[in-house]
């Protein structure tokens, strides 16, 4: 299969994945620890609202989280698809971009939605 992207593009994609990985490392640790505490006594929309609703810091945090995932996951999946499927490189690029867009759209929707649940 001929991967038509230039060396420069490939290098920036690789770097983007590594940089987003570093951001995600921090975000994921915070997220797991938060979830461990939040899960106590059960999770409900009210509980989430109490925590993140109206809170600009959580809004920023989860916004950053979503954007980092939208960079990291598609580039990662791209490598997997290129190496283990016969799908053309161009189609894979398209699929991954759509994947990234989906994450941004629904992720930001979720982040804003949860923010708006609480006191403003």
């Amino acid at each position: 299969m001929n991967i038509n992207t230039s060396a420069k593009t490939e290098t920036w994609l690789w770097l983007g994945q590594r940089l987003s990985a570093v951001v995600l490392a921090v975000c994921v640790v915070v997220h797991i620890v938060t979830m461990i505490f939040a899960m106590r006594g059960g999770l409900s929309t009210g509980e989430i609202a109490g925590r993140v609703g109206g809170n600009v810091w959580w809004l920023t945090f989860y916004g950053l989280f979503v954007l980092s995932v939208s960079v990291h996951a598609p580039i990662g999946i791209r490598a997997v698809l290129l190496e283990s499927t016969p799908i053309s490189a161009r189609r894979i690029g398209l699929l991954c971009m759509i994947f990234g867009l989906f994450i941004i759209v629904f992720g930001i929707k979720a982040v804003i939605g949860l923010y708006q649940l609480g006191p403003v």
């Binding site: 299969m1 001929n2 991967i3 992207t5 230039s6 060396a7 420069k8 490939e10 290098t11 920036w12 690789w14 770097l15 290129l82 190496e83 283990s84």
Partner: protein
Amino acid sequence: MTTEMLRVSVWRGKADGEFVQYQVPRQENQTVLDLVTYIQRYLDPTVSYRFSCRVGVCGSCAMTVNGKARWTCRSHVANVAHGGHIEIRPLESLPVVKDLVVDMTTFFDKWAKAKGSFEPTRSRHDDLASITSTDRQRRQVDAGIECIGCGACYATCDVVKWKPDYLGPAALNRAWTLANDVRDGGNQQRLRAVAGDDGCLGCHSQQGCVERCPQKLNPTKAIAGLKRLTVLAAIKGDL
């Protein structure tokens, strides 16, 4: 006293072929290459195989022995025979010419593609370059320079199997030793050649190459170094 016999399965044919079993008398000091030589001399003269030095300095005799890429001249039968049976087939990821012989053209083409050759910057009229043996970059070169191009790492690398254009551990390891050679002037072209998915960025650090290298080299480490260099070059706008 009866001689113990080894069952040796040897790949016969090309990509399409079959394993043929031979019974070879076992000896106390015997390498896998000895087995193949015995077969070809006394049992079946039509077996094709490659060797040269027989003493572990040329890399010509590399084959897949019981699933692992090895120098057959340095593989003692006692270390590889499992239950009296040894399976010998050609190196993987390279076209089979016949039986145990593979076509190494792609392997060396990729070496060239990775700009794995020295680009001089001095002439005979200049002084010799003065590089101490403790120099940091010199140490990086020393760590990887003993590659003799046997192909064991290439045959083992999963990424080579998944991406036919991937330059592979040996070519990239050589590129890294040259990138650290301060006398070399071709590094910009070289980094352009090894950047990208078919180059160093395709490595996922599984380290099969490290496991199999008979010289105990570390291509994954070299490739990690190339990753850093290419990223730096991209940031500086040199790619």
